[in-house]
Amino acid sequence: MLDLIISTLTQGFIYAMLSFGIYITYKILDFPDLTVDGSFPLGAAVTAVLLVKGVNPYLTLLAAVAVGAVAGFVTGFIHVRLRVRDLLAGIITMTALFSINLQIAGSNLSVARSVETIFTAAPTMAVLGSLTLIQRKLIVSLIIMIVCKILLDLYFKTKNGFLLKAVGDNNALVTTLAKDMGRMKIIGLSLSNALVALSGSVVCHEQRSFSSMMGTGQMVFGLAAVIIGTTLFKRMSFVKGTTAVIAGSVVYKACIQIAISLGLPANLLKLITAVLFLAILVLGNIEKGSVKKSVRA
């Protein structure tokens, strides 16, 4: 039982990084970025190839971040410099990435158990060797995710981070501040997709495989996680956006796990998941209402 909670939290943490990415594009930049469905498997493809080639597993994370940033840059370039609509720019990159991912990985690629991953490599074992694999997965994912969160929170406090927020909030202001809004969009998209690819990379370590189809639906997942998270914490301005996103990601994964665990007919899985989401969003809204009332009273 404890295992199930640990596994679910692990999934929530790994996918929280993807949700951070979508938080940046959707919530901050107000940019519906479909690149995600391609950059997520891109991170996994690069990771799988490097792992098979025997590259240090920790380095594969950095490699994924780098290629993810490039993917985001391409979408940004297509949108900003070539003046293609935001949605379409993402679709173009996502489509191209489908082929590129297969070019990188050859085909769907799996990593043998003899290959060391970030969860089994010597440095991890030296610190967490006494734990089971499932526990190690939790701790390592948590650490990577928290590092991302802290760095992001710090970034949002910098001048550049302020400008990024301003692009989504009111891009006319960015222009009157004599700054190129397009450049900031490209930076935001690169940052976002770097995080998405990192998430894909960790999934590849965890699952020991890359599949060309693994990106399908990730954008939708991320959106749901961001919306669930921000709805839950709507009235608590002291809760950082990134914290809310982590909660959203964990709640989403928990919903799916609950739906699986309920043991209802397998084909109802998605329906049950949908009902659980609705329940959570409604609960979140009720809370919003009750706070309003208490303020009035």
Partner: protein
């Protein structure tokens, strides 16, 4: 804030409640993780249950089934596998590659045996080393070519449409090209990137006047089979299927895998493991050696072909 904590607590409680509910029974649980609902994959599962039965195991007495399907979503497959793993099921049955990969990963340090099903190349997928076994659904290329030769003695070219990103299809094409010579055929293959271009590829094959078309187990192609058949029927080009479901839809014939039989083989493997006779790690994966021939005589007649009696006698009629 209190409400949030309440929601999270309720969620976790529900999770633990749901998780514990099943644990009470003493009967070993078999977790079946199927990638999605799909005629062939359903047949795998059905056959698996039959295989267990044939090996003398009875449901609810010797085992219980926890069946989940991931609706073709890789991350859901991961969570299903983790669910099985945390419940310490006696055995995981994984149908199709993404589910098998997920189950194998979830069982990595738990030593839960995994029996996979409907995987074309288990070695390529790194699903051979460890506490894992199962059955492969590798296409029977030789019998298929032989069948086509017998039904169409004068045919020279065989058209094949395949998705370039699907590794199973790519390896099948290579095998077809390698073996076509032996039967006096030439393969005309057209690669597509997605399902939308499949019917265009069919037009191209018709234009090239191929003598017939044969299918792989390519999901994109099989998904729009009806549209392809509409075009080929008009052009009087026979299409051969790769398994029973395609013949039922209107392909003329197929020397194909019977996924029920395949499932049975996996079911028997699982029975041996459950009974403690063998360990999955000691059992090599199996490949189908017997293939059945399926014929759709309506489709055959519509094409103006005849099936030689030595085939039709053994063949299974599908309509």
């Amino acid at each position: 804030m209190k409400k949030i904590i309440a929601i999270l607590t309720v969620a976790l409680l529900a999770l633990s409640f749901a998780g514990c509910g099943k644990k009470e029974s003493k009967v070993p649980v078999i977790g079946i993780s199927q990638y999605g609902e799909h005629a062939s994959l359903d047949n795998c599962r059905e056959g698996f249950l039959e295989g267990l039965k044939e090996a003398g195991l009875e449901e609810n007495k010797d085992f219980t089934i926890d069946y989940q399907n991931a609706s073709f979503d890789n991350s859901t497959a991961t969570q299903i596998a983790q669910n099985f793993s945390s419940k310490n099921v006696a055995l995981m049955c994984a149908i199709a590659t993404p589910s098998a990969t997920a189950c194998f990963a979830a069982a990595e340090d738990k030593d839960i045996p995994v029996v996979f099903n409907a995987i074309t190349d288990p070695k390529e997928a790194n699903l051979t080393e460890g506490n894992i076994t199962g059955v492969s659904d590798k296409l029977p290329v030789d019998p298929q070519l032989e069948l086509i030769r017998k039904i169409q003695p004068d045919a020279k070219t065989i058209g094949i449409i395949y998705t370039t990103s699907e590794p199973n299809s790519v390896s099948a094409i290579a095998e077809y090209k390698e073996k076509a010579d032996k039967y006096g055929f030439e393969i005309v293959e057209i690669g597509v990137a997605d399902q939308a271009s499949v019917t265009q590829a069919a037009d191209t094959l018709i234009n090239k006047k191929v003598d017939c078309i044969t299918n792989l187990t390519d999901n994109n192609v099989v998904g729009v089979l009806s549209a392809i058949l509409e075009k080929t029927n008009a052009a009087k080009i026979p299409v051969y299927g790769s398994e029973i479901e395609q013949v039922k839809k209107g392909c003329v014939a197929s020397a194909g895998i019977d996924y029920i039989e395949l499932g049975k083989m996996a079911g028997k493997q699982a029975a041996q493991i459950l009974k403690g006779e063998k360990k999955a790690s000691d059992m090599p994966y199996e490949t189908v050696t017997e293939y059945s021939t399926y014929v759709n005589s309506d489709a055959v007649a519509a094409m103006g072909l005849t099936v030689p009696s030595d085939i039709s006698d053994k063949a299974i009629e599908c309509k």
